[in-house]
Symmetry: C2
Subunit: 641 residues, 2 copies
């Protein structure tokens, strides 16, 4: 094992702590039941049963998607993070038993994939393009790393190392090995995690191989299809753009294709650039980052504006109603942002990470943790979602489970590990990217530093940080100044101190003593946000944001037909905390006008005189909390006057 830099983080935050609680109390048990086919009315997952069959402990056929095993892996990963935050011997025992089952399902040579083991043992590695074989392996590796890091238990780590060793024998640039890679990126980022835990550079090199090989000609997916006797046509109109294998990754400048695959790949690329000091690759990551966040990202941190291919489209194409904006894609954006921050501290990454976390990721989970959105649109007209085939992907209420259940366990593992996104460290500097209450110990420079953060985010902008270094010594703490903060006040032990601001971070360098206390105050103002004029969908419209929270209007508060109202955004917009609404949220209230018909003769097309406006009061709730009060219309962007 590599020597690990200490990073013990325990989240004590009100806002995120509640999410960790629901993951532990609702999501983990529910998904456990789902994996065991114990949810009445839900299509059986069969995932555990598949493992038993593969282990020779049950009879039957494989059922589910080719990537069904990944649901088990993501559950273990979520459970691992949960155990770190909320120890639970019973849950740990369940995990250990499940891991034992997984190890029994592993084949003697290390292979592990119940789909192939049960259904087509001779067909291993014959359809990387479609069948997620390495993707599933990647999730198992991530689960193993997480479980090892949070419990210290190696059983699953041993399993995945054996599997990774097999993969390393099968894939690679050497003669006789497959020069291939998975259609769905995931193993790349996982192998880099495994490398950091095990210190074995073979895993780094294998991740590097998968990344560098991608998109080269002659195209692996073409060769593979030829071997299978297929004609090589592909359902996606952009062909290999779907899996970002249309070009070698170093030549890619625009995010394209399946959004989750894309950001999982960029996550791995940033990590690889960091681990190998590869400035050229880092530059590719920055170019892609700018493309995604400056041209293809919704204000919620949602990405992927098309249902077809669950994909990116092109610059400024951000329709609010047709948006796909998969929960998993926003989660992947958080992963990527984190690795960009590990690469270089620049608040543009932290800002996007915060934007996605407080909006487009947690919109995917019901406030009570029992239901999930796969798709997170920014505007919903329930009648259209029901009648229009081009909106068939849009659900107006969260669903208990999905046939393709990628998002629920993904959001669970993100929430349970939220603490991992607060800090990064580099040399003598500890970076604070997120203001989430926590009690942690980090290695900064030569020793350990205890940190105790209290935060009133996202409702208020007050942050307190108690610093407890192992011994008084000089180092730097760098605090992200959110792009939404016009101003801030930072004091150490009650006194203003010299601060250097660089790339959106306030650097405080001093000799820190045990008990030093930093206080930061970010004024939270309600901001009226305009979209870039090239975003045609938002022309003439505004959105409201307060701190990191993006707001929306719902039918429950404003009646139907949200398009008929325009907010008077030059006038005061009041913000007040409503303890009774939606588990307690800030509600914004402003003046507006509603256009109605003056004389309803029924005509569709009217003269101005046939219309009139009524003064109305409009209320806005946090976007993440929409659709928690039954079905209704919702809009993030509203017309203004």
């Amino acid at each position: 094992m590599l020597e690990q830099r200490t990073r013990h983080i325990h989240v004590t935050d009100d806002f995120w702590g509640r999410y960790i609680d629901i993951v532990k109390e609702k999501v983990i048990p529910y998904q456990w039941a789902a994996l065991h086919d114990g949810i009445e009315g839900a299509a059986p997952s069969h995932a555990i049963e598949n493992l038993k069959i593969a282990a020779g402990e049950a009879e039957g056929e494989f059922h589910g998607f080719v990537f069904q095993d990944s649901d088990v892996a993501k559950w273990i990963e979520a459970a691992a993070y949960t155990l770190a935050e909320r120890p639970d011997p019973e849950l740990e025992q369940r995990c250990d038993e499940l891991i034992a089952l997984i190890s029994r399902a592993q084949q003697p040579d290390g292979y592990l994939n119940t789909h192939y083991t049960i259904k087509a043992p001779t067909k291993r590695w014959t359809n990387l393009r479609d069948n997620h074989e390495l993707y599933v392996a990647g999730h198992l590796i991530e689960a193993a790393v997480a479980y090892y890091e949070t419990t210290g238990k190696q059983a699953l780590l041993d399993v995945v190392c054996k599997f990774a060793d097999l993969i390393d024998q099968v894939f690679g640039p050497e003669p006789g090995k497959l020069r291939g890679y998975d259609g769905h990126q995931e193993i790349e980022l996982a192998l880099l995690k495994l490398y950091r835990v095990k210190g074995d550079r073979r895993y780094l090199r294998l991740a590097q191989f998968f990344i560098e090989e991608r998109g080269k000609e002659p195209h692996f997916f073409d060769d593979e299809a030829k071997k299978r006797g297929e004609d090589g046509t592909f359902w996606y109109s952009g062909r290999y753009e779907y899996s970002q294998s249309h070009l070698p990754v170093r030549q890619q400048q625009e995010a394209t294709g399946h959004a989750v695959r894309a950001v999982y790949m960029y996550t791995a690329m940033a990590d690889l650039a960091n681990e190998t000091d590869d400035e050229q690759l880092a530059k590719v990551c920055r170019t892609l980052w700018d493309n995604v966040t400056n041209q293809q990202m919704y204000i919620t941190g949602g990405i992927g504006s098309a249902e077809f291919g669950e994909a990116f489209t092109f610059a400024y194409d951000l329709p609010n109603d047709l948006a796909y904006t998969e929960t998993c894609a926003s989660i992947g954006l958080v992963f990527w942002a984190k690795n960009m921050l590990e690469l270089e501290a620049d608040s543009r990454y932290g800002d996007v990470m915060e934007r996605a976390l407080y909006n487009g990721t947690i919109s995917g989970i019901q406030l009570d943790g029992t239901k999930f959105f796969y798709v997170n649109p920014l505007e919903v007209w329930p009648q259209a979602a029901k009648h229009r085939h081009d909106l068939k992907h849009v659900k107006t209420e969260r669903q208990p489970w999905f046939g393709c259940a990628c998002c629920p366990p993904n959001i669970a593992r993100l929430l349970a590990s939220i603490g991992q996104y607060i800090y990064t460290t580099k040399n003598q500097t500890g970076f604070i990217h997120l203001y989430i209450g926590n009690e942690s110990t980090l290695t900064i420079g030569s020793g350990e530093v205890g940190l105790k953060m209290k935060s009133s985010f996202p409702w208020k902008g007050e942050v307190g940080l108690e610093v407890n270094p192992d011994t008084s010594r000089p180092f730097t703490l760098a605090f992200r100044i959110p792009s939404w903060a016009n101003d801030y006040q930072l004091t150490v032990n009650g006194h203003f101190v010299d601060v250097e601001v660089r790339d959106g971070y306030a650097y405080v360098e001093r000799t820190w003593q045990k008990g030093d206390h930093i206080s930061i105050q970010f004024p939270l103002e309600t901001k009226v946000i305009y979209a870039h004029p090239e975003v045609r969908a938002n022309a003439g419209k505004i959105a409201l944001q307060r701190g990191p929270i993006v707001f929306c209007a719902e039918e429950a508060d404003n009646g139907s037909n949200l398009q008929s109202v325009a907010i008077r955004c030059q006038e005061n917009i009041d913000a007040s905390f409503d303890t009774d609404r939606l588990n307690g949220v800030i509600v914004l209230e402003g003046k507006g006008v509603r256009t109605v018909t003056a004389n309803a003769n029924g005509s569709l097309y009217l003269a101005k005189e046939a219309l009139q406006t009524e003064e109305v009061t409009l209320q806005f709730i946090p976007y993440y909390a929409w659709a928690n009060r039954g079905e209704g219309e919702m809009a993030v962007w509203l017309r203004h006057r």
Copy 2:
């Protein structure tokens, strides 16, 4: 034959005469070549070849859609109307030869359908739901009626009567007959035309049977599917709403499903209600009319707002970019409007007929007659149309031909017969619905009346009508007052006369003399049109209309990103005729502002200060003429301030 009321109409109009010319000079010859597989680069139609094979005069397989014969029928129908307007012996001879071929392809028992005759002679009438067998028959009947009425030649009429007699033996309420109907309505309206020409009430009763039987339970399409051994599932999510067979027609209150099928059916229903004095059925027609035109119709007269099923969706769901608005659906709306006018003179029908004619139908044909739109959206962003799968139906430029070539011959037959839509007569009254220059003879009351209309529509509002009754006698002429006309001046022989206005028509009752001259002046003002507030897609937007013409903004005149501009619609909008643009059109010009970025830091989400507005001059051209100057953005609805 029934005694025909005289109705000789010859169009002399500048605007529509040009279209008749291009139908004769471009469309008819091009489609003739297409039917004969003579267009280089176009997928072969094989339609003529199919007829030859069915006639035993060629070897080979059937190729094309199951309804391929209907392209031939529609071509003959268009040619027939063209011959009436522009006599041409050579064209007539081609028609005669083609008709002879058709009659040789007819089977001894009267059956006529090359698909079944060649491919599946034993499978006749086994899949009415999908295979358009009666639809094709309907188009043949329409062609035969048109050719008979314009040339007096009976050969094709004899063919279709023999076929109709066979259909009458196969279908009907009597025991042993099929209680079925076609998935695509068409034969219903055709049989009513045949009834009027032949006077044989069997055809009326058969049309009535098809209309009344539709949607009854047990469902014919279910029974039929069971007989074929299919499980009865249907691809369309709304199932039989797709073909308006979800309910008996008298119970239908909302337009649903495939828009062309719907309006073809409503056309027949209105005709049947008229022919049989069926007030209950007339009421159903009115209910459906109100539903379509007050809740589901675009300002262009386009209908069918969804690509999936080429279908109606629900009230006020009128997205401009996703619109399907098939050319054929607008054409069908014109047919229906005409039959509603035959039923009762109410300007709401005439207004919609005019709206569809000057906008959503002729937008389907390139100004030079060589290319066609199937889909007529009201807003186009070419990049989105190319990249977004949900916009894959949208073409940014008209196409030379389609695999499913329904629209090009349909627009051809409409344009060539445009004269048929100008007048209706009832008892002592001649109704003038459209102001299209023509020289005609109608039967009004007891005798014939010659009419010579001159019109400056759509660019100016001056109409002159010379009335030449066979003898001086009293009758009434009723002139539609378009809904867009705030006012009008009507004089007879230079003097204002008493006029009774009823249901949008100005009734002039007097003893008419040879040479009486009516002059009408409709002031053409540019109107700023607002959509009903329930039309969410048009909130905050306006459209411009002048007389019957709906305008649009194009990139060619206004640069890209039409959403970034807002028109100052309270200020003067200038209208001037531009002889050089688009064959000569009125161009509107107004002031507006364009939102641009003040400092382009690349961010997607901005504060107000990051934006600024520039004063711009905006130009608008008639919607029908869009996409005649290469590819570019287009919008009918623009933001206003």
